[in-house]
């Protein structure tokens, strides 16, 4: 070790290492940057959530309930864009990833701390640019920005496009940072075979971000110029091809779906072994499956376009490949279940969220197979069936995983314990509310109710109303969670260094961790899940 290492004592940690708002805004400490991400993203999560409630309220009755069609189109557009670009894509990598990943690797920081801080501010800038449209003309294209509507609409779409464009680079830089960190900054003895699965998941995610996001960048770039100067590549009036835009968009946005879900899978793979006191079932298969999913992610994008008018050959190819997504995903789900087999399962909140994750993600995944099949997709495409499906995977998957991780690592980074009772209540509330909201939408979709509808036929009313009620249950659950977590931050009981008796490196340092994560860089001698002898 070089000579700069300051002598730590238990009193000083990364939270009180530097004082004052400035020391936070200019910090290079990945943990602080992680917390800044977390805070920012949760603010946008609140905004996006409010929009979703507005949408559900409007759909409580046919015709006009609380707003006119124009406002409704903007409401669901904002709900979509905010939740996708500003919440679930950066949520786990940006917030939890930054917090945990370097410590799991036994590193003092990410490879490029300045770049890391930069990417936070880039994200913030992009998010603010996009959000600024709330005070301009708004935007009503849907988060998919399909041409030619996105070229013709009078709303200030271009700011949202530019915002997403900018936020993309935040993702790219975070990805680069993580990859290099994982390659170069592993603690002595931490071989590839000993990496925790969360690290593997973050690794795959970063690869996806670095490979896919630039294509989003070029897409939005061209679309912006389409609006500015009418270059016509995507504009049929000038001879362009609107379907080409969809190819561009989904070449990014399908991998993006896995950018959202993979880290959540990583978290679940951490939580289940710890609370079952048992090694993860089939570590190698799990790691391989993660990369299997990541790679396949790039060759299935046009399964969003079966009815778009693309060639039948394309439909054939993409449907066939898409089917193979189910295999690695299946492997992961089965292995998680098998991990619980003959364990001793502790019903702590993270584990409850893991259970809910397994439930909703299984539903989401299986309905995914139905949508991947050509014939069924023709009927279900762009109906509420699809809406329900991707909420089950993205919201169910990512948010449940995130909540699991949040509670799992809460003691580590705040140094306080969250209250177990209230946490369980809110978890159950969210889980039930979630199913009440989205199960009816499967039926609505099957009956043929198209998505993005401001107005619907009377006989869809009942199911829509159930769905709306459910959405408010979810909201209640999250607000309650916010309440007890904030309470825990100020006056929760002090947490020990390793409350869950986990074996991964982040538990081998004090909570909260010191400024440079470890008082002495640990040397790894065994795998992350070897719950043997006294470790049980």
């Amino acid at each position: 070790m070089s000579d700069h290492a300051v002598t730590h004592n238990e009193k000083t940690n990364y939270l009180n290492h530097g004082k004052g708002i400035w020391s936070w805004m200019t910090t290079l400490d990945h943990k602080r940057i992680g917390l800044m991400y977390l805070f920012t993203i949760l603010v946008f999560f609140l905004i996006g959530g409010i929009f979703s409630l507005l949408v559900r309220l409007e759909l409580f009755t046919p015709g006009k309930t609380i707003m006119d069609a124009a406002s409704f189109n903007q409401a669901f557009t904002y709900h979509g864009s905010i939740m996708v670009f500003m919440v679930i894509i950066p949520l786990v990598p940006g917030a939890l990833g930054n917090l945990v990943l370097p410590i799991m690797l036994g590193a003092k920081d990410v490879a490029f701390p300045r770049l890391n801080l930069a990417s936070y501010y880039i994200f913030l800038a992009g998010a603010l640019i996009a959000a600024s449209t709330l005070f301009l003309n708004g935007v009503d294209t849907g988060w998919t920005f399909y041409t030619p509507y996105s070229i013709r609409t009078g709303t200030s779409a271009i700011f949202v496009l530019f915002g997403a464009f900018v936020m993309g680079f935040a993702g790219i830089f975070t990805g680069i940072n993580f990859i290099v960190t994982i390659h170069k900054l592993r603690a002595p003895g931490l071989t590839w075979g000993r990496l925790p699965l969360f690290v593997w998941a973050s690794y795959a995610t970063s690869v996806l971000q670095v490979l896919a996001t630039p294509v989003l960048a070029i897409t939005l770039f061209l679309l912006m110029f389409e609006r500015l100067t009418g270059i016509g590549i995507f504009d049929p009036n000038i001879g362009g091809d609107p379907i080409l835009f969809q190819h561009f968009f989904w070449f990014y946005s399908h991998p993006a779906v896995y950018i959202m879900i993979l880290p959540a899978m990583g978290i679940i793979s951490e939580v289940i072994p710890v609370f079952s006191r048992k090694p993860i079932f089939g570590y190698k298969a799990m790691a391989v499956a993660i990369f299997g999913i990541a790679i396949v992610a790039f060759v299935v994008w046009a399964h969003h376009m079966y009815t778009s008018g693309q060639s039948e050959l394309a439909n054939f190819v993409f449907s066939l490949i898409t089917m193979f997504v189910a295999v690695p995903t299946g492997i992961k789900v089965f292995s998680w279940i098998a991990t619980m087999y003959k364990g001793t399962i502790h019903f702590k909140t993270p584990m409850l969220y893991a259970f809910s994750f397994l439930w909703v993600f299984t539903v989401g995944g299986l309905t995914g197979v139905i949508l991947a099949a050509l014939a069924t997709n023709i009927h279900f495409h762009d109906t509420y069936f699809v809406v329900a499906h991707f909420h089950f995977t993205m919201v169910g998957g990512t948010l449940m995983g995130f909540m699991a991780g949040l509670h799992y690592w809460f003691p580590k980074f705040v140094g306080k314990m969250y209250p177990e009772g209230p946490a369980k209540i809110s978890c159950v509330l969210i889980f039930l509310g979630f199913n009440v909201t989205f199960v009816p939408q499967f039926i609505l979709g099957s009956q043929g109710m198209p998505r993005r509808y401001y107005d619907y036929l009377p006989h869809f009313t009942t199911l829509n109303q159930i769905s709306t009620v459910g959405s408010f249950m979810i909201a209640a659950g999250f607000f309650y969670a916010a309440y007890y977590l904030i309470k825990a931050i100020c006056c929760g009981e002090k947490a020990s260094a390793n409350p869950w008796r986990g074996l991964t490196l982040e538990w081998q340092t004090s909570s909260p961790p010191p400024h440079e994560n470890f008082h002495e860089i640990p040397v790894v001698t065994e795998g992350p899940y070897e719950y043997k002898g006294d470790k049980v």
């Binding site: 070790m1 070089s2 700069h4 290492a5 590193a107 003092k108 920081d109 490879a111 490029f112 701390p113 770049l115 790219i172 990805g175 680069i176 940072n177 990859i179 290099v180 390659h183 170069k184 900054l185 002595p188 670095v210 490979l211 896919a212 996001t213 630039p214 294509v215 960048a217 070029i218 897409t219 770039f221 061209l222 110029f225 389409e226 500015l228 100067t229 009418g230 270059i231 016509g232 590549i233 504009d235 009036n237 000038i238 001879g239 362009g240 091809d241 080409l244 190819h247 561009f248 440079e516």
Partner: protein
Amino acid sequence: MSNSHDSSIRPHAHHFDSAHHEFESSKQGMWLFLLQEVLFFSGIFVVYAVIRGLNPEMFAAAAGLLDVKMGLTNTIVLITSSLTMAMAVNAAQTDKKEQCVWYLIATFFLACGFLVVKYFEYTHKFHMGILPGAGFLNPSDTHVIIAQTFLISAAALTSFFVARSKTGFRLSKKSVWISILFWAVSLYLTISYWVGHHGEHRVVGQDAQNLIDQFAKAPLFFSVYFGATGIHGIHVLGGMVVIAWLISRAEDAEFNSKYFTPVELVGLYWHFVDLVWIFLFPLMYLVA
């Protein structure tokens, strides 16, 4: 656990073991950045493939309106700049500090030359009414405005980097003169455009007219042409900015055989920009 010969000589960010470790990591970071650059450009190449594949005749005909001589000039200019860049890196690695500065300056001016040629190529096309997509045959200044915005902001950034170098903003420094020159050039181009051409009555080129009569989709070729070369041009601009930054640092003698990471990384980037052009030149100019 330091395994590096030079960590004692140059201090390195303390989360790395050694300067060498830091160098290797930074380089990998740069390669990952180039990877995303490739994917970024791949979008343009897809558009190219699609539009050319669907309208081969139109493509060949439209490409006839491009000026091969200018394209060739630019190719040579850019390859030369790649050469000088490689020399600059070599000079830095072998402690030839003065040479390094001169090679970087050469690279900078070659890049500048590349853009000047592009500038004349573009404005000429604009006046003949050859613009991308909807603009075809009815010229507007939008494109010029966008281009010049990039130009000016690049000039501004350049002088910023020059100014923030260790020894500050001294007129005795080459880098200072460079940034002043760059400013002068971009301002000259801007002003000359607005004085000379702004709002003038434009004569729509007959060949452009014939082209569109024959192929209704011809404007799409120029969407691709201006899109691809434009985005590439922006990368050249960006390159010039960082090279200017290198120049000012090299003048402060910050690079030596022990520490030359920035030179090497910018070198990688610059060669990549060259690499893209190596494909753009035949794809755009030589299909006629």
